[in-house]
């Protein structure tokens, strides 16, 4: 029976090639638009550490100028970074299960066997909990385990740096020089590039190739080498800074802090801890802005920092509106076409078809249009994504679109099937309800 209905469907669709083409192409375009925007939106806004969304929190306090907000476009948000003083104090708390403070600076690697020229690397100076907190995968070895207060000469390499300097071999235990100091390799990462780079959106949520973290050193080296961060840093406040000590005590914001707080009680306690510190510091003249201590989860963090741009959300809505237009178009065409065939449907009913037969016959026709439109839409959507990727070949932002992941394909197919079938349900159903007699009268 299905084969019969398929034959009838193809017959019917062939009879009006223009309308059929219009329906299929319109659906295909609508679905392609949705696929492209959905994939881009999903890739750009997805929380790459979603399994820890209720556990990891960005720690921020508002130490900015009382006269103006840090970001005039989002005046209620505190700055995303902390001063050295505040970071060190907050990190001294034992309330969080784990915590990390970190910053970014450039470094020079030298002394690997056979290395001709020094290699400039983007370095993340971080305390040791970084790796456990963010579930960073290691190929060889692991992170350092000593005290955060000590400038341990231990370094972790990214997979790419390890490949470039040691040919990808297990380099744990090998010696290398970073910014002129001898370090021992304690770990090499697997390929790890969460996008968006949620833990450091300030420097860039989608870092260009020259901006991704390539090596990791203990945070204490900042003070040990009197090094300045080369990532984002904003300062305000009175007085010039004449030396490094004054720099550490200044109102310059250059440190990101994250805390692992799995329980609500823990979060309450930590917030109380932050508030107490804030109150105490306020008495000395700092923190003159209203109280705005925050613990922000990753999803909200991405939103606050504009990682999910309003643009991608607008695009998503436009794409869906377009799909709606295409579907309405299709419903109209199907309805008109089916109703026009009313006399023939009357004949079939006279010959013994019941309402279900008529409905099935027309739903099959709808399904053929839907499958054709869906497949075409997938193809056009894939081409569209390939085009987007090609245009942004050098931009890391779109690198993750390299793979048309199976989840995306499944989504697209489901979208195609569901939307078109939904569109065709009404026409197919209403045509089955036509009374047979009315359309048989030939006079």
């Amino acid at each position: 029976m299905l084969r019969y209905y398929l034959r009838l469907a193809f017959n019917s669709l062939r009879r009006t090639p223009g309308l059929t083409a219009l329906m299929v192409c319109a659906i295909a375009l609508g679905i392609a638009a949705c696929i492209v925007t959905l994939t881009v939106y999903h890739a750009m806004s997805g929380n790459p550490i979603w399994w820890k969304n209720n556990v990891l929190y960005a720690v921020t306090m508002d130490s900015w100028d009382p006269g103006t907000p840090y970001d005039s476009k989002h005046p209620t948000l505190p700055p995303p970074q902390l001063t050295y003083k505040d970071a060190i104090y907050l990190a001294s708390s034992n309330i969080p299960k784990r915590k990390v403070i970190m910053t970014q600076l450039t470094g020079m690697l030298n002394g690997a066997p056979g290395q001709a020229v020094p290699l400039r690397v983007m370095t993340r100076a971080t305390t040791r909990d970084f790796f456990a907190m963010f579930d960073v995968p290691f190929e060889y070895g692991g992170g350092w385990r000593g005290s955060d207060r000590d400038a341990l000469p231990e370094i972790v390499l990214s997979k790419q740096v390890n490949a470039e300097l040691f040919g990808g071999a297990d380099s744990v235990g090998r010696s290398i020089s970073w910014n002129g100091n001898r370090f021992r390799v304690v770990g090499v990462l697997r390929k790890w590039q969460p996008l968006p780079r949620f833990y450091d959106v300030v420097n860039s949520a989608f870092p260009p190739p020259e901006g991704t973290d390539q090596v990791f050193v203990p945070f204490a080296w900042m003070t040990a080498l009197q090094a300045l961060p080369t990532g984002n840093m904003t300062c305000h406040g009175s007085g010039g800074v004449d030396n490094y000590q004054q720099f550490l005590g200044s109102e310059c914001l250059w440190i990101e802090m994250w805390a692992e707080l799995p329980t609500a009680a823990g979060r309450e306690r930590f917030r109380a801890f932050m508030d107490a510190y804030w109150a105490a510091q306020r008495k000395t003249g700092r923190f003159q802005r209203p109280l705005n201590n925050r613990l922000t989860d990753v999803g909200q963090w991405l939103q606050d920092n504009g990682v999910v741009t309003s643009d991608s959300r607008i695009l998503l809505r436009v794409a869906f509106a377009f799909l709606a237009v295409c579907l309405i178009n299709t419903v109209g065409i199907l309805l008109t076409k089916f109703l026009r065939a009313a006399p023939i449907i009357g004949v079939r009913r006279a010959l013994g078809a019941n309402r279900r037969h008529i409905f099935m016959q027309h739903i099959v026709e709808v399904a053929v249009v839907s499958v054709a439109g869906g497949l075409l839409g997938l193809a056009v959507g894939a081409a569209g994504l390939a085009g987007v990727r090609a245009i942004h070949a050098q931009d890391n932002t779109y690198a993750m679109l390299a793979h048309f992941d199976p989840l995306g394909v499944a989504w697209a197919l489901a979208l195609a099937a569901a939307s078109t079938l939904a569109a065709g349900l009404y026409p197919a159903w209403s045509v089955g309800r036509l009374p047979p007699a009315g359309y048989l009268k030939s006079r």
Binding site: T16, G18, L19, L22, A26, L29, A33, T37, D65, G67, T68, D71, S72, K73, T106, M108, V117, P118, R120, N179, G180, E210, L225, Q226, A227, L228, T230, T234, C235, H236, G237, S238, G239, G240, D242, N243, Q246, F247, T309, S310, D311, I314, L315, V318, A321, F322, V325, C326, I328, N329, V331, G332, I333, L335, T336, R340, V388, I391, H392, D395
Partner: protein, 403 residues
């Protein structure tokens, strides 16, 4: 012409669902197209925002110190000397930021001293005497830095400078009455920095601050272990000179390393990228929605005509002229367009309001709405024109034919 609306309306009422669907389609299409075009106009405006200088024949090379012991001051002097010696290089300068790129710094300034003074956040650039010439930016008032004014690189931090240069845009913000020249500005303390020069507006580097606010300080860059060599070349020679320079500088001084070498147009393109993408996508979708809607009108009207040939023939047989048939279909179409358009206007305004509330976009310009409605009406009627002509061509004899 005898426009008898009642038969037309009753014919429409009998084919209600089809007409309602088209009207709905038109409403949504109108709402989307008007707002999408509005956003495109905004983005195009952003893309066309002039950089304030001719970025076409410029490139920038980023240099990073090898270790904390590197003498970046000497490296700078060496690099600039080499670059200026290259034939085809018009000017070269050492700066702490690259215009149009995200590499840059900012600071806050006030016309009043003290830490409680109202501050304006602005981009900042450590520059030398050749910077303005390299950029090709004009001095409107006052003077440029002299070679002797440039403070050499030391390990100091955030010192106050006796003399600074600001852009016109920043001058207007700090001194609304005019006459910024010669006035002091402060960076949150009591040390005055005198404005010795005011330049025309240009984009120093990219951030959330207003585009053209910039402060130039006479300082050899390199506090953070990084500096940039900004170079202007003669037209057409940028690509080759960039390659030559990069190759030489990579090995000429092993105390420092080249970490980036790009033309300024590259940064401009990156800057415009997201606006451009958005504009292109919206423009494409707008065109597609318009096409789909019009093809839908065309297709359905053609179809309706082909199923009603008997009625048309009968009408003609009883005396309707070709003109009357055409009018019938165009009026029928017009009713649907007007209904859809009216709903679409309400929808478009609603969407526009929502967009401006949610996403801080400027309010929809009503001109766009008017143009959208008129445009859609005209194109919608054009879509029904051909089928209406086909209807008029149905011969009256069809009325008497049996099936």
């Amino acid at each position: 012409m005898n426009l008898n609306l009642r038969p037309i309306l009753s014919a429409l009422a009998r084919n209600r669902t089809g007409a309602v669907l088209i009207a709905l389609e038109i409403a949504i299409a109108l709402a989307v197209m008007v707002n999408a075009t509005w956003i495109v106009a905004q983005r195009v405006q952003q893309i066309e925002e002039p950089s304030g200088f001719d970025a076409r024949d410029m490139f920038a090379i980023g240099v990073s110190a090898l270790s904390s012991h590197s003498d970046l001051g000497a490296a700078q002097r060496e690099d600039l000397a080499y670059l200026r010696s290259l034939p085809g290089v018009v000017a070269a300068s050492a700066t702490s930021s690259v215009p149009l790129s995200p590499y840059g710094q900012g600071t806050s300034l006030s016309p009043l001293p003290g830490s409680n003074a109202p501050m304006t956040w602005t981009r900042m650039m450590e520059a030398d005497e050749a910077t303005l010439e390299t950029l090709g930016v004009r001095i409107i008032a006052g003077r440029n830095f002299g070679a002797a004014d440039i403070r050499p690189l030391t390990k100091g931090f955030f010192q106050a400078y006796p003399e600074v240069i600001i852009t016109q845009s920043l001058a207007d913000k700090l001194f609304p009455g005019g006459n910024a020249l010669g006035k002091p500005v402060y960076s949150g303390d009591n040390t005055p920095m005198t404005v010795v020069g005011i330049t025309s507006n240009f984009i120093p580097s990219v951030a959330d601050t207003p585009a053209y606010d910039a402060l130039l300080v006479p300082q050899a860059p390199g506090d953070f272990g990084i500096y940039f060599c900004l170079v202007r070349t003669r037209p057409g020679m940028t690509a080759t000179l960039l390659q030559t320079a990069e190759r030489h500088l990579a090995t000429s001084n092993l105390d420092r390393v080249i970490f980036s070498a790009q033309t300024l147009p590259y940064y401009r393109a990156r800057l415009d990228a997201s606006s451009r993408d958005m504009a292109i996508f919206l423009a494409v979708v707008t065109a597609l929605i318009l096409s789909v809607t019009c093809l839908g009108i065309f297709g359905l009207t053609t179809f309706n005509v082909s199923t009603r040939t008997k009625q048309i023939g009968t009408l003609r047989a009883v005396g309707a002229r070709k003109r009357d048939i055409v009018a019938h279909y165009l009026v029928e179409n017009a009713i649907v367009l007007v209904t859809g358009g009216a709903v679409g206007c309400v929808l478009a305004l609603g969407v526009g309001q929502w967009l401006s509330d949610q996403y801080q976009l400027p309010r929809l310009d009503l001109h766009f709405l008017v143009i959208g409605v008129v445009g859609l009406a005209v194109i919608g009627q054009l879509a029904a024109w051909h089928p209406a002509r086909r209807a008029a061509a149905v011969p009256p004899s069809v009325a008497t034919r049996t099936i």
